[in-house]
């Protein structure tokens, strides 16, 4: 290979080739670990909240909303006098992957002296952060990671969950489907993201299906960041199910939905998780079916509408459920600091375990379950709107009903003590 095509050949020796590739590779790896905090200067008197969220990678688009939600909550708190009369400072870091998340969690707590941690969307990274939080005895609010194991075998006393768990998502849509008679005797085909979150979700969703009389036709483990689903769609068509159930996350949801629509198969779609961002990215004409939602900007309760309006005024687009998670989580965290009169972790833990109720912008207030620290809250069954009824590109869902219903126990969609092996001894 010539290095200069217009001049004499310059031999590329083997050694040079090797050092070149090595330098390139090392540079690549090193550079991909870098991420810079959004706010660096720390005030001596301020209360620092460490915020970790994936800003790059296949969850990056959700992370962007997380930052918007958290920032808005902190700014509102500061406009209102801060917490305990002190300014609140949000330090956001890109968590990238579990390894980087561990380092950054440590850095936020020990280096930046953050009083508490909040955030994360990837279940793998959340687990890493939880370990650090537990070891360094700092409260960590999980606002985006869904795996049951985080509330189960990996639970710890310093971690609280604002985000719903896989069982909640599964039961929200599952109970509705069961009432519609869509499960008993029906054949389902699964597509599952091939990593920790997907595996956990498949375990929970296939169990629910089989317990309620459904037939599991098969499951395909799909590598994350798969760009082409045509082969999987062909397999679905060859299996001829009654339903297609997808346990995919982030960008993969978008890609699958677009391509499923491309092939025009008419098997109804459902899934074990639904984040509004990826659905917006797919475009309304690619969407169909009934889904579960943790929170949606179209909810008609007053608090929710107020939040949505403020968000739109500030950012020019409506909030995604991840923005809600960070916003509500930050508010609860700051309230706990105010109520306990300080940033002592154990005091906050005990306060939250006492079960105080919080306004979480939903029809019913939320409170943490004391034995696994999951926020008990309602979720919603939503239906994809007809494109003719949509008022803008974000207006994609019709909210059908809250789940559990207004008169039902919030525990209905939660994993029971038998299903959840959490013990915080």
């Amino acid at each position: 290979m010539t290095s200069d095509p217009t001049r004499a050949v310059r031999p590329m020796t083997r050694r040079r080739a090797l050092t070149t590739t090595a330098a390139g590779a090392a540079g690549f790896v090193a550079a991909s670990q870098l991420g810079f905090p959004a706010i660096v200067r720390a005030q001596a008197d301020a209360i620092r909240v460490g915020h970790l969220t994936p800003l790059t990678g296949f969850l990056g688009q959700l992370g962007e909303y997380a930052v918007m939600g958290a920032t808005m909550a902190v700014d509102e708190a500061n406009a209102d006098g801060g917490a305990l009369g002190r300014r609140v400072e949000l330090i956001t870091e890109d968590s990238v992957n579990p390894g980087v998340a561990t380092e950054k969690a440590q850095k936020l707590i020990e280096g930046d002296r953050a009083a508490c941690l909040i955030g994360e969307i990837s279940s793998g990274s959340a687990l890493a952060i939880a370990d650090v939080a537990n070891r360094l005895q700092t409260v960590y609010f999980n606002t985006g990671a869904n795996s049951d194991a985080l509330r189960g075998s990996n639970c710890n006393r310093f971690m609280f969950h604002v985000e719903g768990c896989n069982t909640m998502y599964t039961k929200t849509i599952g109970l509705w489907q069961q009432r519609q008679g869509l499960i008993d005797g029906a054949k389902w085909y699964f597509l599952t993201a091939d990593y920790a979150f997907g595996h956990d979700l498949y375990r929970v969703s296939s169990k629910f299906l089989e317990e309620n009389g459904g037939i599991n036709l098969g499951n395909d483990m799909v590598p994350t960041n798969t760009l082409d689903y045509s082969a999987y769609i062909l397999k679905i068509r060859q299996a001829n199910p009654d339903f297609v159930y997808i346990n995919l996350a982030g960008v993969d949801q978008t890609t699958f939905l677009k391509q499923y629509n491309e092939y025009g198969l008419d098997y109804p779609l459902a899934g074990g998780v639904m984040d509004t961002g990826p659905f917006w990215a797919a475009g309304l004409e690619s969407l169909s079916g009934h889904w579960q939602s943790l929170w949606y900007h179209g909810l008609d309760n007053e608090a929710s509408q107020a939040f949505t309006q403020k968000f739109v005024e500030r950012y020019g687009k409506p909030p995604e459920n991840q923005a809600w998670g960070e916003y509500v989580g930050t508010q609860i965290l700051l309230k706990a600091i105010n109520e306990t009169g300080g940033t002592d972790s154990m005091a906050i833990v005990e306060y939250l375990e006492g079960g105080p109720e919080f306004d979480i912008l939903k029809g019913r207030p939320g409170k943490f379950r004391d034995w696994d620290h999951q926020l008990l809250q309602e979720m919603y069954v939503v239906e994809v709107k007809d494109p003719s009824a949509a008022q803008d590109e974000w207006d994609i869902f019709e909210v059908l009903e809250p789940q559990p219903g207004p008169d039902q126990d919030l525990e209905l969609i939660q994993p029971s003590k038998e299903e959840n092996p959490c013990s915080m001894a």
């Binding site: 290095s3 217009t6 040079r16 909303y65 960041n225 082409d228 960008v251 491309e262 961002g277 990215a281």
Partner: protein, 289 residues
């Protein structure tokens, strides 16, 4: 068995996408001598430009205009930067294109945000075709057509035009070409522009299928390299064969054992390189064979 056939046929369609993706990379490498790590960045840029253009000129307008714009940017980059690096250590073009890739991805993120942008399937290509029991989406058949046009067009350019003759001569013996009084500089710029335009075209074609988001370039970069390596560095038809092969192998892997689907192309590359280090149709590498 029928199912397997359907997957193989689908694999050929998927392969046509890999061809468009990898051909530009191969051209720039074989004829320009540059390992272009920014290939993915231009792929993403093509998709983003298409997103903006298709709102005003429709999808067909985007398919024509976006790659041209991206190609022009490629030529500017070649003239301003890459040209100075030909004489230097090859590591420098690697580092430059790598830096360019990262800078581009972050710029896309800054300008358009990290959220995926909705790119609708163009109306004229919606729908599926049923041949017997085999289902094909019109859009992918169109992509096959585009790949065919690109391959034939590039081949004709390289083998039936004076320009192509100079390009091929410049690859094997640049000294002699200079001795004959022909400057290779504009030729290299043009080749670079063509390769980058093809990257942009691949991005445009993939947008209706996989959407538009800032990380899209990094994801396909390794796939493009793998296809070029399997086909053989320096070979035109190698890329075509390798693209189709990767598509078929991937499709069959999904059919049989999906978790290995993304890894299958790497396994294929290892196999090919073990048996034939030059790649399927590459130039003989004396040291290794």
């Amino acid at each position: 068995m029928v199912f397997a056939l359907e997957h193989m046929a689908n694999g050929l369609l998927v392969g046509s996408y890999y061809i468009i993706l990898a051909l530009g990379l191969s051209l720039i490498f074989s004829l320009g001598g540059v390992v272009n790590l920014a290939h993915g960045a231009f792929y993403a840029l093509g998709a983003y430009f298409a997103f903006e253009i298709q709102r005003r000129l429709g999808f067909l307008g985007a398919v024509i205009v976006a790659p041209v714009l991206v190609g022009m940017i490629g030529m500017v980059i070649e003239t301003l930067f890459i040209r100075r690096l030909y004489r230097e250590d090859p590591a420098l073009t690697l580092l430059f294109t790598f830096g360019l890739a990262m800078a581009t991805e972050q710029s896309l993120r800054l300008i358009w945000g990290a959220t995926g942008l909705p790119f609708p399937m163009p109306g004229m290509f919606r729908g599926v075709l049923l041949i017997g029991d085999f289902i094909y989406s019109y859009y992918r058949l169109t992509m096959l057509g585009v790949a065919a046009i690109v391959v034939i067009g590039t081949w004709l350019l390289l083998n039936r035009t004076p320009f192509g003759m100079i390009v091929r001569a410049g690859t094997s013996d640049p000294e002699m070409v200079r001795a004959l009084g022909i400057s290779l500089r504009p030729v290299l710029t043009a080749i670079f522009g063509l390769g980058i335009a093809l990257a942009g075209l691949a991005g445009v074609m993939s947008a209706p299928l996989a959407g538009v988001q800032p990380a899209m370039g990094i994801e396909i970069l390794t796939a493009a390299f793998v296809v070029v390596v399997i086909g053989g560095l320096g070979s035109f038809w190698g890329v075509v064969v390798a693209g189709l092969l990767v598509g078929v192998v991937r499709g069959l892997t999904v059919f049989v054992y999906p978790p290995a689907a993304e890894a299958s192309m790497y396994a294929l590359m290892v196999l090919v390189l073990l048996l034939r280090p030059r790649g399927l149709m590459g130039e003989k590498v004396a040291r290794l064979e």
